[in-house]
């Protein structure tokens, strides 16, 4: 009974917490990439003489963006399939938030202890991304259609890498429950797997979050705003919100799968934050150092590098299972 109450409370607490952390991560992503480009980026401390007008800090800049979008007019194009167009962002958001419930946070196991939580979480993440494809397809805009098509192609290959890395870990740890994986110990072999499968998961994250070498679905210079071309106001805000939750969710999933036992006990919280910041820093440095791939290059790259790496992971995982 106490457990149940604690779980319910933590489920309620995690949503604002995930939003806050997701906003901070996106802020870091923007700020760091700005600093890589020798810019200032959204200011942490506004210039003294502009404070009354522009606020003291822009730490919550991504949140302001979302709030502003919620305060704007929402335009629904005539040619769109209205229902799918309007509901997709909300469904996408719903699945992203649902996925978060299955990923542990230090001190809060949430629902990560339920059987098959790894599969549930990965399905929910996939469903969330699926609805960021379906909505744009329903909008009737050619740019959105091209963007969505690119996203589907990217999704097919990046998902393969994602799933391969998840199951390599699952096999090595002999568990499909995230909580069990994230509270397991470390050994030399497992550390090796962490490096290879972690790298694969990292690459899959790039594809899911549209970070630079894999941001062709949103390529501004070519296809307007890609899938989001026709979205405006509240619907766009919902998509941005989804992105924030997705960023938090993927970072949390990465930490809980590959860096156990950081995501279990509340005492690990400082280390958790450090790990998340380092991960965001790595994502940013990949983003600023790479040009955008063409979709064909991306798929080739995945087939040549990521998939063999995934197979290698599997072999390592099997070896760990059989030998250790």
């Amino acid at each position: 009974m106490v457990d149940l109450i604690f779980t319910v409370i933590s489920l309620i607490v995690i949503v604002p917490l995930a939003l806050f952390l997701g906003v901070i991560y996106s802020y870091l992503l923007r700020k760091l990439s700005a600093r890589f480009q020798w810019r200032v980026g959204p200011m942490l401390r506004m210039y003294g003489d502009l404070k009354p007008l522009l606020g003291t800090t822009r730490l919550l800049q991504p949140l302001y963006d979302i709030l502003k979008l919620y305060g704007k007019e929402t335009i629904v194009p005539d040619v769109s399939r209205r229902r799918l167009f309007v509901y997709s962002p909300f469904l996408s958001l719903f699945f992203a938030v649902a996925a978060i419930f299955f990923i542990p946070f230090p001190g809060m196991p949430l629902l990560s202890g339920v059987p098959y939580s790894l599969i549930i979480a990965s399905y929910l993440l996939i469903a969330s991304i699926l609805f960021t494809i379906l909505g744009p397809v329903a909008s009737g805009s050619p740019w959105a259609a091209i963007g969505a098509r690119r996203e589907v192609e990217l999704f097919l290959v990046s998902e393969l890498g994602f799933v391969l890395s998840l199951f390599a870990v699952a096999i090595a740890r002999q568990s499909l429950v995230i909580w069990e994986i994230s509270s397991g110990g470390q050994s030399l072999y497992l550390a090796l797997l962490t490096v290879t499968a972690g790298a694969l998961m990292f690459v899959a994250m790039l594809g899911k979050l549209h970070i630079k070498p894999f941001d062709m679905p949103e390529a501004e210079a070519e296809i307007v705003a890609g899938p989001y071309t026709e979205y405006s106001g509240k619907l766009l805000g919902t998509y941005y919100l989804t992105k924030v939750f997705l960023l938090y969710g993927l970072v949390a999933l990465f930490i809980s799968l590959f860096l156990p036992p950081i995501a279990t006990d509340v005492l690990w919280l400082p280390l958790y934050i450090v790990a998340a910041v380092v991960l965001v820093f790595l994502l940013t440095s990949v983003q600023v150092l790479n040009p955008r791939y063409r979709i064909r290059n991306a798929i080739n790259w995945y087939l040549k590098v990521a998939i063999p790496l995934g197979v290698l992971n599997f072999i390592i995982a099997l070896a760990i299972w059989l030998v250790v």
Partner: protein, 148 residues
């Protein structure tokens, strides 16, 4: 001032509408977005689709062929919106246009088609002048909200 009004002031998104002109203003506008004058400090972002924009930044003297596009793009920007005309071309036609004799190819300035809220004269204006214009645009945006 509510949090929504604050958010509106804190995160204005720009859509850059180039209609005619010599490209001088466009280069200066991009300079305002680039590292040296980085407007992302103040939350301004360049967005690729007019549907995401709050501020429509127009440059150039509107060739007649461009009239339907200008109108359409203006209508695609969702409600509280502000138009900032950058450069003498977009403010009054400048070199390319005169009232008489009428020009067969050039309409003059976007003001004749869409309501412009802030004018930034200059040929081309310095990036600081463009930032100044955008800041005035943001203030107008806040005003528009509170009137509603």
């Amino acid at each position: 001032m509510g949090i929504m009004d604050k958010a509106r002031i804190y995160s204005p998104w720009l859509y850059h509408l180039h209609c005619g002109g010599c490209n001088g203003c466009d280069i200066e506008t991009l300079a305002a977005l680039a590292p040296r004058f980085d407007v992302e400090r103040f939350g301004v972002q360049l967005v690729p689709s007019p549907r995401h924009a709050d501020i429509l930044l127009t440059t150039g003297c509107v060739p007649k062929q461009f009239i339907p596009m200008v109108k359409r793009i203006y209508e695609q920007v969702p409600a509280p919106k502000v138009v900032v005309a950058v450069g003498s071309c977009a403010c009054g036609g400048s070199l390319f246009y005169d009232d008489a004799p009428e020009n067969y190819a050039i309409l003059g300035h976007p003001d004749l088609l869409i309501p412009v809220d802030v004018y930034v004269p200059g040929c081309a204006p310095k990036p600081e002048a463009i930032i100044n214009g955008v800041v005035q645009g943001i203030l107008k945006l806040a005003e528009k909200r509170s009137k509603k």
